[in-house]
């Protein structure tokens, strides 16, 4: 199987703290990869390294075998890496439609001179973008009018809009940073289904999620981080029974406790 995304010994330091410590990751095309670990284990930092928000302190990142480590975030987006943020970063005063259409920026070409001289391409692009945006809204389950202001949306729908904006990029891989956090049970159910639907369109998914039920249900493979290091990797069953993972989450068990229990 070909690896769509590969990291080799990537490292990030903040002062004396090693937030991500020489992590190797191989993600296959079309899989849903879970990324779990206790708070502060480096999950979000890892996504920030992959999407280019932070520069690397060491190691290398490959997309389809091609190094992207030197590319700026917008160039990586152009190559097909989309993401959402842990704490929602929409364009609040823009409409739902405009938020999604900004996501299509890298896939469209109309510059100022095309617009000013009424180039045919601009009109076609605007029309096809509008249509695509409405399709994406339907796909992620946003039922509002497209002109609704993004900042006025309730929390769950904001998360959906952020995913919609990411999908508008027509990415090869999308990084979802805790998308189900703060959602109600029905919304969480939909989030699981949506993640699968995204994968079924051929997009690889990396998912950070605290809700273990969501992670175990939806992920093909799971990578566990602790103190910036990768401590385990495997399918959901393997991860659930891995002693090192249990230790990282629950602390070391005393033998007497086990006997007593």
């Amino acid at each position: 199987m070909t690896h769509i995304l590969e990291t080799k010994a990537i490292t990030k330091r903040f002062g004396g703290l090693v937030a991500v410590d020489s992590v190797d990751l191989q993600v296959s095309k079309g899989e849903i990869r879970g990324l779990i670990g206790p708070n502060g284990s480096g999950k979000s930092t890892l996504l920030n390294l992959i999407s280019g928000v932070y520069p690397l302190d060491g190691g290398d990142i490959f997309l389809n075998g091609e190094s992207v480590s030197k590319l700026s975030p917008h160039e990586r987006a152009e190559k097909g890496i989309a993401r959402t943020f842990q704490n929602n970063r929409l364009f609040p005063s823009l409409s739902i439609l405009d938020n999604i259409m900004v996501g299509m920026h890298a896939r469209t070409k109309s510059e100022l001179h095309h617009t000013l001289f009424r180039h045919k391409m601009t009109k076609l692009e605007e029309e096809s973008c509008r249509k695509k945006a409405l399709d994406i809204m339907k796909f992620v389950g946003l039922k509002r009018g497209a002109d609704y202001t993004a900042g006025a949306l309730p929390h769950g729908e904001r998360r959906l809009l952020e995913i919609a904006r990411g999908l508008a990029l027509e990415p090869q891989i999308i990084l979802l940073d805790e998308p189900a956090t703060g959602m109600n049970p029905a919304e969480k159910e939909w989030m699981i289904e949506l993640t699968r639907n995204i994968r079924n369109t051929g997009i690889t998914v990396i998912l950070i999620e605290h809700n273990m039920r969501v992670v175990m249900e939806v992920c093909d493979r799971i990578t566990v981080l602790n103190f910036g290091r990768k401590i385990a990797e495997g399918n959901p069953q393997e991860i659930q029974t891995n002693p090192e993972v249990i230790e990282a989450y629950l602390g070391e068990e005393e033998p007497e406790d086990v006997i007593a229990g």
């Binding site: 999407s51 280019g52 928000v53 700026s72 975030p73 917008h74 987006a77 152009e78 989309a82 993401r83 943020f85 970063r89 929409l90 364009f91 609040p92 005063s93 823009l94 405009d98 259409m101 900004v102 996501g103 920026h105 890298a106 896939r107 469209t108 109309s110 510059e111 100022l112 617009t115 000013l116 601009t122 692009e125 605007e126 904006r165 990411g166 990029l169």
Partner: protein, 327 residues
């Protein structure tokens, strides 16, 4: 549809009034004030692109105004260029200056630091205009800039010049509307809202910041060229930091980021000081207070206040239609 019709009607009515405005204004002085208001409107529209759309605090508009004025003035006085050449030359040269200033200052500098840099540029520009006497004639200023003539058409009086101001304002404001609703405009607004998210979504943030800066310089230069031909005499002490603040006030009070913002703001801040002539010394205080109030309580300015009105009209019309349809 309904609010669009209401808006179109308002715009046409305003257009007719503006077209015949000089007929109702006998005084030369009042007409001068109106022309100056139009030039401020152009400066504020340029600021709208950089601050309103892209979210970058810039005071350079007044420096661009000065560069545009001197470019047009010197080309006309020293080299006898006609009006139709001095204006585009000034606009494009100023845009080039804006581009060159943007390249180093927009890569890393953000918010406060960028604002301070642009303030510095305003002072440096004024000092250069004052001290590079071999080119600009220094503090004596540059007199004798001819009134515009386009072929056989001459615009010698303020009433005649008004039509140049009107057409320029119309075209340049319309241009901001075209930019705002384009792919480029969406990228700029995304940068204003959240530049990191914009970058991660594939927007080349630096490129569009520089572009917005260049466009605002183009507006400043064009406004400057018109100003030079309007007043006929320019000197470095016109292009002060206070003027930069006035332009900023116009945009903030009118409505930053909204197309009609510069129109309303520049009109009000041109007309009101004329009414309040008797308390001229307090103008600065009033402006300052107005901007603080606007920034805190209505960041979308006066135009922003009218938006619920259009929306209410839309709801009213659509519900009327629905009732008509089902009943």
């Amino acid at each position: 549809m309904a609010p669009k019709n209401a808006k179109t009607f308002t715009l046409i009515a305003a257009g007719v009034v503006l077209l015949f405005l000089p007929k109702f204004i006998p005084s030369n002085y009042q007409m001068t004030v109106i022309n100056l208001g139009g030039i401020y409107m152009i400066l504020a529209a340029g600021l709208n692109v950089i601050l309103g759309f892209t979210g970058l605090m810039s005071f350079t508009q007044v420096a661009f105004w000065g560069i545009g004025s001197y470019t047009a003035g010197l080309l006309a006085v020293e080299h006898g260029f006609p009006f139709l050449l001095t204006v585009p030359a000034a606009a494009f040269l100023t845009a080039a200056v804006g581009f060159l200033l943007g390249l180093p200052s927009l890569r890393k500098l953000k918010k406060f630091y960028l604002a301070v840099t642009t303030i510095g540029f305003v002072h440096i520009t004024r000092l250069i205009l004052e001290n590079w006497t071999s080119l600009t004639r220094g503090a004596d200023g540059l007199p004798g800039i001819p009134k515009p003539a386009i072929g056989p058409l001459r615009f010698d009086t303020m009433h005649e010049f008004y039509y140049i101001t009107l057409i320029s304002c119309f075209l340049l404001i319309w241009l901001t509307a075209v930019i705002k609703n384009s792919r480029v405009g969406r990228a700029m607004q995304a940068i204003r809202e959240d530049d990191l998210a914009a970058e991660v979504m594939g927007v080349n943030v630096f490129k569009y910041k520089v572009l917005a800066f260049t466009i605002s310089a183009f507006y400043g230069g064009l406004g400057g060229a018109l100003y030079a031909h309007l007043v006929g005499y320019i000197s470095p002490d016109i292009f002060t930091f206070e003027e930069a603040v006035t332009v900023l006030c116009m945009l903030m009070i009118g409505g930053s980021g909204l197309i009609a913002g510069p129109v309303v703001g520049a009109t009000l801040l041109t007309v009101i000081p004329e009414w309040l002539r008797f308390m001229q010394e307090y103008n600065a205080i009033i402006y300052g207070a107005a901007v603080v109030v606007m920034a805190v309580y209505m960041p979308t300015g006066l135009v922003g206040l009218t938006q619920p009105y259009w929306r209410r009209l839309a709801v009213l019309f659509s519900s009327a239609k629905k009732n008509g349809g089902t009943g």
